[in-house]
Symmetry: C2
Subunit: 351 residues, 2 copies
C-alpha cells in the first residue's frame, strides 16, 4: 500500500494543475475513480464526485485539485522516503490517500463521498467547492467532512476567518517646505497604526482547540512625490479572527479601530468555522486519532462546509510548513499513516 500511495502521489504531482488549469488532473482522478468497482462517479465542470454506500453516517473526504504557481522547484520525483514537487504536500498526497480509500473495502455501512474540487488556491470567487455544495444539497446533510489539507496527520479543528480592509486616510497636499499649508496623510495615519501595532494577540480556547486572533497592517502606500506633502495613504488591514466572531462582528471591530474620517472598504471576507466538538462523528474521529488537537490558524474550506452546517476538520498527510514553498515535499510514511487512520475510521464508522 505504501508503494501504491507513493506512486499515485507522484503520478498526480506530475500532472501540472495550477489554479485555472485543473482539467487534466480532474480527468485523471475521474479515470481512477471509474476503476473502483462500486463507485458512483460524477463530473461537474472541473469537480469530480465519487460515492460509495448510502444513508448515514455520511462522511465526506474533500481535497482541492489545484496548486499555487510553479516557483521553479525540483521536478517531481521520489527521493528516498520523500516525494518532491509542486503540490506534493498541498495537497496531492491528500488526493492520493482519498483515491486509495475509495478503492479499499473499508466502508461497512453508511455513505462515503469523495469531493475533488478546483480553484482553492485563488480568490474565493473562483473556488469550486461552494457552488458544488450548493448544487448538491444532500451533501449539506453529511455528518462530517474531512479536508485532507496538509496537517502532518494532526487534527486541526475549524478555522479562523480572514478579512482584508482597505483603509484610506486623506490629508491635504502642499509643498513639503510649507507643511502648515496642508495636512500630512501619513502622519494622520499614526493613531491607527499605533492602535493596530499595540493590539494584544487574543487567544480563544474552544474545547480542545485554541485560536490566536491577530490583526496586522500588511500593506501601506502613501505620498505622491518626494517634495509634496502626502494627501493620501492607503493601508491593508488583515484580520485573522477567531471562530467566536461572525464576519459582521469582525467588520465592526475593524471599523471601530479606524479613524472616523477614514474610508474603510472590506475587500475580502471569509467566515471562521467553530470546532464543532458537539458533532458525534467528529468526536469519534478525534477520539480515534488522538494526539495533539489544535485550532486551524489559517483559513480553509472547512469554513465552507461549516457555513452549510456540515461539521468539518482538517486532517491530511502533507507538511503544512512546506506548503507554497519551492522545496515542497511529503514523507511517504505520512501517506500510509493517513490512509490507515481513514481506513480504520471507515471500518468503525457505522458501529
Amino acid at each position: 500500500m505504501k508503494t501504491t500511495l507513493a506512486e499515485r502521489t507522484l503520478e498526480l504531482v506530475r500532472i501540472p494543475s495550477v489554479t485555472g488549469n485543473e482539467g487534466a488532473i480532474a480527468d485523471q482522478v475521474e479515470r481512477v475513480l471509474q476503476e473502483g468497482p462500486s463507485l458512483r462517479v460524477r463530473r461537474k465542470g472541473q469537480c469530480v464526485l465519487g460515492d460509495l454506500g448510502r444513508g448515514h453516517p455520511h462522511l465526506i473526504l474533500a481535497g482541492h485539485l489545484d496548486t499555487v504557481p510553479d516557483q521553479g522547484g525540483p521536478s517531481p520525483a521520489q527521493q528516498g522516503d520523500q516525494i518532491l514537487g509542486l503540490g506534493s504536500s498541498d495537497m496531492k498526497s491528500g488526493l492520493a490517500v482519498m483515491l486509495a480509500v475509495a478503492q479499499s473495502h473499508a466502508l461497512k455501512s453508511g455513505r462515503l463521498t469523495l469531493v475533488f474540487y478546483d480553484g482553492e488556491e485563488g480568490p474565493i470567487s473562483g473556488n469550486g467547492l461552494g457552488p458544488l455544495l450548493d448544487s448538491e444539497p444532500e451533501l449539506a446533510q453529511a455528518d462530517l467532512a474531512l479536508l485532507l489539507e496538509p496537517t502532518n496527520n494532526l487534527i486541526e479543528l475549524g478555522c479562523q476567518g480572514t478579512m482584508h480592509a482597505r483603509v484610506s486616510i486623506r490629508g491635504v497636499a502642499a509643498h513639503s517646505a510649507r507643511p502648515w499649508m496642508g495636512r500630512n496623510a501619513i502622519h494622520l495615519a499614526l493613531p491607527l497604526l499605533t492602535r493596530v501595532a499595540g493590539l494584544p494577540l487574543r487567544e480563544v480556547r474552544m474545547g480542545e482547540a485554541t485560536y490566536r486572533e491577530v490583526l496586522n497592517v500588511t500593506l501601506i502606500e502613501g505620498g505622491r512625490s518626494r517634495n509634496v506633502l502626502p494627501d493620501r495613504v492607503t493601508l491593508n488591514l488583515n484580520f485573522r479572527f477567531a471562530p467566536d466572531r461572525t464576519v459582521e462582528n469582525a467588520e465592526a471591530y475593524v471599523r471601530a479601530l479606524c479613524p472616523e474620517t477614514a474610508e474603510v472598504e472590506i475587500v475580502d471576507a471569509a467566515p471562521a468555522a467553530p470546532p464543532r466538538l458537539d458533532a458525534p462523528l467528529l468526536q469519534q474521529f478525534v477520539k480515534q486519532v488522538g494526539g495533539k488537537v489544535s485550532g486551524k490558524q489559517g483559513w480553509t474550506d472547512v469554513a465552507q462546509f461549516a457555513a452549510r452546517g456540515v461539521p468539518a476538520l482538517n486532517f491530511g498527510p502533507g507538511l503544512p510548513e512546506l506548503a507554497h514553498r519551492r522545496d515542497e515535499r511529503v514523507p511517504v510514511d505520512n501517506l500510509l499513516t493517513s490512509y490507515e487512520v481513514l481506513e480504520f475510521f471507515l471500518e468503525q464508522m457505522g458501529k
Copy 2:
C-alpha cells in the same frame, strides 16, 4: 515700458522651454541681448551671459530659462492686466525684466552680469548654474546676486536646505495568520513615524529673516501581499533645514531620528544659504526696497551662489503661490515694479 515688459514676457511664454528643451528660448534671449549696444554677450551650452561695465560693485541678475512640464493650462495670452501661461510667473516675467534692465542705461559705474541658465526645475545634477559659475571664476567675486524667482516683489533672503533620506526598515516575512513567526516591518517603523510626526516646527530667526525648519515623511511603501507579514517598509523623509545647519549637520540629525537597524540613504541634499545681511550691497538693496523681508522657505539657486561665497537673495515679479500650477499667471503691474526697483538700484549702486 509696461507694454514692452508685457510683450516680452508673452513672447518668452510662447517659446516652450520645459527642462531639457531650453535651446529655442536661449537662442531668443541671446538675440535680444545682442541688440543691446554695449553688451558683451556669451553663449555657453544653453546658458547665456551678458555683461555691462567692469569692476565693482558687481551685481548679478540671474534667472532660469526652463519651466516645469505643461499641465494643459491656458494658452499664452494677455488677459486684462495679467499674462497667462506656463512659466509666466516662474520665471519668464523675471527674464523679461532682466532683458529690459540690460537695455536700460541705468548702470552708471561698476558691473552688471546677466545670467540665464538651464535645468533649474529638474534634479540638481542637471542644473546649469553650478557648472557655469565654476567655469567663470570671476563671477564668484560679485558683490550681490539677485535671483528673479517669483516673490511678488518681496525680498526673500537666503534659502533653506533640502535633504531626502530613503529609510528602509526590515522585518521578517511570515504568513499573516502566524505573525509570531515573523516581524512586521510596518509596525517596526512606528517609533520613527511617531518621532517625525511629533517634531515641533523649529523657527530660526537670522536678522530680519525667519526660517521654519520642517521634516516630513513624504512617501511610504511597504508589504509584499495582503496575506504576508511585511518584511520591509521604505519611507522618504524630506528635511527642509534652516541655514544654521550644514548638509553634514542635517544628515546627522536625520540619521539620529532613525532606528539603529534602519538602512538610511541620503538620496539628495542641497545646502541652505544664510541671509548674508553682512554684505554691504545686499544691505543697500534691502534698505532701498523696504517692505516685508522674509527668509526663503523653499530651496533656490541662492544656495549655489552662497556656496561660492556670493551674497544672494530672491526678488522677482512672479507670484510664488501660482508657480508650478496650471493656472499660472503674472500681473503686468508687477513687471513694472520689478523693473523700476532694479533700474533705480543700478543708478544708485556705484554711489
